[in-house]
């Protein structure tokens, strides 16, 4: 049995942020996550560190939080934030009134703006639609959600925080009307562990209601699916937004070697059963093409979808619901934190931790906004510039990941999961989407004794299915060629029929 003070359920940005905050304030804690870090909406978002511009007209409170956190994260997370800057682009036919409201809102909240002529905007982003009316520059940035989570966790681990990934909470233990612990099942071994704590924080995003129900409670949540597509190269080095009320397919974010374009917004009922519909890809492609005409002929290498757990408000659609967050005290030792955004994850963690401190009657101040994220130097092997330095023994040719790196990461985190390697090295994130390198990475893990060959066959099979689910909705052009090659390799050369 593990005994601790605070149990955090959920290893997305919020959960990881809370772990860091608790660690810096000296509170023992244990974080339990059913997959890898950032496995839910955190890792399935745009990777956009909002300036707040997106919400300035309709949700000024969320916008104000965004710009404040944007400034903090640029300061504390230099190595996981790329200060790309962003443009809000107004195309012919887009409302001028909205532009005026936008500028007024930005001024009131303190979001720095710069109005750019079409030619100046085209200098910055040559692939913009040349018939644009104007562009407004804001301090949008690109942020890597996987690295962000891992850096937050580093602070926790350095101070004795216990981290259980690939553990699913199956029961919340109640005694005398209070939540006193959880039972968590390790996914690979099915071993059940009991963890006892004084406070349980439900930071599971879209799964918030499911977890609250384990303790007999519930949370008012609306599940909103957002789908995105990944291009195989950067078509813009700045974040591009459409200067109009939030709608589908109006944001493009550069991230490492690719761009992420989206999103859509659809209400769903089950966060575990989501997929991208080809029609959503068409919507995104059509809309983004209006801002960046080349998008229509750009190769799309993957689609993905995440589920936002939004604060429920009757009669409102997903776009209209506030991106603010809320902490619910279930009055029995369980707290749920829900809503919010990746950009405001630190603020959410701060407020949540403040509540914990109040319960404990402690007064230690939050320091997460001042101290730089720890471990940024050790993760410096991640950016492309560093990966280009070693070109020997490459197993992932798309993203230049070497066999040594795979061995090192697999050794460090002791993982049995291929996804863990991918999130930490970018293995399999390039144009072939792991078609070649996953077979190799699993082979390396076999040789290291991390995984039995039987397991690796199963994992390879599951990986290929999941990969195909993401690729299929945007399958045409050169990506279709690539896909037929991958299909030929696994079915034609290796004859890998699906395990029954």
């Amino acid at each position: 049995m593990i005994r601790t003070d605070v149990i955090i359920v959920g290893g997305g940005s919020t959960g990881c942020g809370i772990a860091r905050d608790l660690a810096l304030r000296g509170i023992p804690h244990c974080l339990i996550e059913k997959g890898d870090f950032a496995a839910g909406a955190t890792g399935a978002c745009h990777g956009l560190l909002h300036s707040g511009g997106r919400y300035v007209v309709n949700d000024p409170e969320a916008a104000a939080e965004c710009i404040a956190e944007n400034r903090i994260l640029r300061k504390i997370g230099r190595k996981c934030v790329e200060q790309t800057g962003g443009l809000f682009v107004r195309l012919p036919g887009d409302s001028k009134r909205f532009r005026d409201l936008f500028l007024k809102g930005c001024e009131e909240i303190g979001i720095a703006t710069e109005e750019l002529s079409p030619s100046r905007a085209l200098d910055l982003v040559p692939k913009l639609n040349p018939s644009l009316e104007e562009a407004i520059r804001v301090p949008d940035c690109s942020i890597d959600p996987f690295r962000l989570c891992m850096l937050n966790i580093t602070s926790s681990q350095k101070r004795g925080g216990q981290i259980l990934t690939h553990h699913r909470v199956i029961e919340i233990i109640r005694e005398h009307g209070r939540c006193v612990g959880v039972k968590a099942r390790e996914e690979a071994t099915s071993e059940v562990k009991e963890i006892r704590g004084k406070i349980i924080i439900n930071a599971t995003g879209a799964w918030g209601d499911q977890v609250a129900r384990l303790a007999g409670g519930s949370v008012p949540i609306t599940l909103s699916k957002g789908s995105l597509v990944v291009t195989n190269h950067r078509i813009t080095n700045m974040v591009i937004n459409r200067l109009r009320p939030s709608s589908d397919g109006d944001i493009v974010v550069p991230n490492e070697a690719v761009c992420l374009a989206g999103t859509t917004s659809m209400t769903v009922t089950d966060p575990d059963r989501i997929g991208v519909d080809p029609a959503e890809v068409d919507i995104i492609a059509t809309q983004v093409q209006q801002m960046l005409p080349d998008f229509g002929t750009t190769r799309l290498i993957r689609t993905y979808a995440g589920v936002r757990g939004l604060l429920k408000a009757d009669g409102e659609n997903g776009r209209a619901i506030s991106r603010g967050f809320r902490i619910i005290d279930h009055q029995d030792g369980l707290f749920t934190i829900m809503g919010g955004k990746l950009t405001t994850y630190r603020l959410m963690a701060e407020k949540m931790t403040d509540s914990v401190m109040a319960v404990f009657g402690l007064k230690t101040k939050c320091r997460t906004a001042e101290l730089p994220l720890e471990g940024q130097e050790e993760l410096s092997g991640y950016p492309l510039s560093s990966r280009l330095k070693t070109l020997e023994g490459i197993v992932c040719e798309c993203e230049l990941v070497t066999a040594d790196t795979v061995e090192r990461v697999a050794g460090q985190i002791g993982t049995r999961h291929i996804g863990d390697i991918q999130h930490r090295t970018r293995l399999g994130m390039g144009p072939c989407q792991g078609g070649f390198c996953t077979y190799r990475a699993l082979g390396i893990m076999q040789e290291m004794g991390k995984m039995t060959p039987e397991d690796s066959m199963r994992v390879l099979g599951e990986f290929l299915q999941r990969r195909f689910k993401g690729i299929k909705p945007a399958l045409w052009g050169d990506q279709l060629r690539e896909e037929q090659l991958v299909e030929y390799i696994y079915l034609g050369i290796l004859n890998m029929e699906q395990e029954q």
Binding site: P278, A279, D282, A285, G393, I394, V395, A403, F436, Y439, R440, L442, G443, I444, Q446, E447, T452, P453, E454, S456, M457, G461, L464, Q465, R467, F468, K469, K472, L475, W476, G477, L480, R481, Q484, L485, E487, Y488, I489, Y490, L491, G492, I493, L494, N495, M496, E497, Q498
Partner: protein, 396 residues
């Protein structure tokens, strides 16, 4: 520059090369134009005819009526496979197998691939779980992990040799070096391994596999076989190299690394094509043309968001349905609808949707060929390549 041929073949893959050889043997003046090295370089080098039942030729009877194999017929398929074997034998790269017998080949994942004709280096590759197999792997070779195989064959073991390089072509090149080969054979002789076969990933030379293979077999006194690997695949490259040499021996003119820049049509006939090049263009005139540019992988077909195009002559291509129906949800359920896309032809291998009297079509660009579903890629390419050549050969 202007050149005149009896038949101009566009596409240097299996079907185009087999068509070229057939026509050259009839004394025709033939040119092959290819944008680059063909998809068969990625292949296992094995000739899959139809992975259904014990006798692939018998299985053809149960294929859908519109499958291109039916345009060729069982006897002609058997003859064209025989022709292929003769060509490879003559080039010093013998293939073994019988067109009427499917055989099993061990894959790098320890699975069995069903195929028909195999290079001699895979003659003893089968999936008999009772026989001891000793797998030789190479230190840090990135595309071969012997445990995938030994875990499925309890009656198997492995040893690791360090060749000093980690890529498939790198190791294959080493095997063409006499000293390296002797060193390897002596290392192999020193291993204490049970009675049985020796299996290696397919790295026994880039082109001289036969010689390397026989020396290793003689050196260890055992049956030896190669296991096909991921691309770049040496048996695939050897297959391509063997056929290309056969073309050159027969006086076929090759325009390699050249795309088609423009097409000249006169009435219902193609008169000539003009080739891309740096500096000047080449006009290639033919009495007949054969389109053998393959399917999507090789670029004969191109799918845009909502349609499929033929990329050289813009022939009307059969489209199986709207985009959301192109692929199954299950990656492993081979037989995605999109595989049916391609050019529909009449019994003389001419497009039924475009009236061009001197253009013949063969290989995987043919509609309804579904080569992944039926595992019939190289067999279909060989059979339709020879058949299309015969169909047009009589007319020029």
């Amino acid at each position: 520059m202007n050149a005149i041929y009896d038949v101009v073949i566009i596409g240097g893959g299996m079907s185009g090369m087999m068509a070229a050889i057939t026509l050259a043997e009839k004394g025709k003046k033939v040119a092959v134009i290819s944008k680059g090295d063909p998809v068969c370089c990625f292949s296992t080098g094995c000739i899959d005819v139809l992975a259904d039942g014990d006798d692939p030729l018998e299985g053809i009877g149960s294929l859908p009526d519109n499958h291109p194999y039916h345009l060729v017929g069982e006897n002609a398929i058997a003859h064209s496979l025989e022709l292929f074997k003769n060509i490879m034998f003559e080039g010093g790269m013998p293939y073994v197998g019988d067109a009427h017998i499917n055989r099993k080949v061990l894959t790098s994942l320890g699975r069995c691939k069903i195929t028909c004709l195999v290079p001699e280096t895979m003659e003893f590759s089968d999936c008999d779980p009772d026989e001891y197999i000793h797998v030789i792997s190479f230190y840090k070779m990135k595309d071969f992990y012997p445990q995938y195989i030994t875990s499925r064959y309890p009656n198997a073991g492995y040893s690791v040799f360090d060749p000093g390089v980690i890529t498939t072509p790198g190791i294959a090149e080493k095997f063409e070096n006499k000293t390296f080969l002797e060193e390897f054979i002596s290392w192999l002789g020193g291993l204490d391994i049970p009675e049985g076969k020796i299996a290696l990933p397919a790295v026994l030379g880039r082109s001289l596999a036969g010689k390397v293979y026989h020396e290793i077999s003689a050196g260890c006194g055992r049956k030896v076989f190669e296991i096909p690997t991921l691309p770049p695949s040496m048996p695939g490259l050897r297959l391509f190299g063997g056929l290309k040499k056969a073309l050159l021996r027969r006086g076929v003119n090759l325009y390699w690394g050249r795309g088609i820049y423009s097409v000249e049509k006169l009435g219902n006939r193609i008169e000539a094509v003009t080739l891309d090049s740096a500096g000047r263009t080449t006009r290639v005139e033919g009495k007949a043309f054969i389109l053998a540019t393959g399917s999507f992988i090789s670029g004969g077909l191109y799918a845009s968001m909502d349609t499929v195009n033929e990329t050289v002559f813009d022939l009307p291509a059969f489209l199986p349905g709207a985009r959301e129906t192109w692929f199954n949800d299950d990656f492993f359920a081979s037989g995605h609808e999109i595989e049916k896309a391609g050019i529909r032809v009449d019994p003389s291998f001419r497009s039924v949707d475009a009236e061009i009297e001197n253009l013949y079509v063969c290989g995987s660009i043919l509609a309804f060929s579904e080569v992944m579903k039926y595992r019939c890629g190289h067999g279909m390419a060989i059979a339709t390549g020879v058949a299309a050549a015969n169909a047009c050969g009589g007319l020029v």
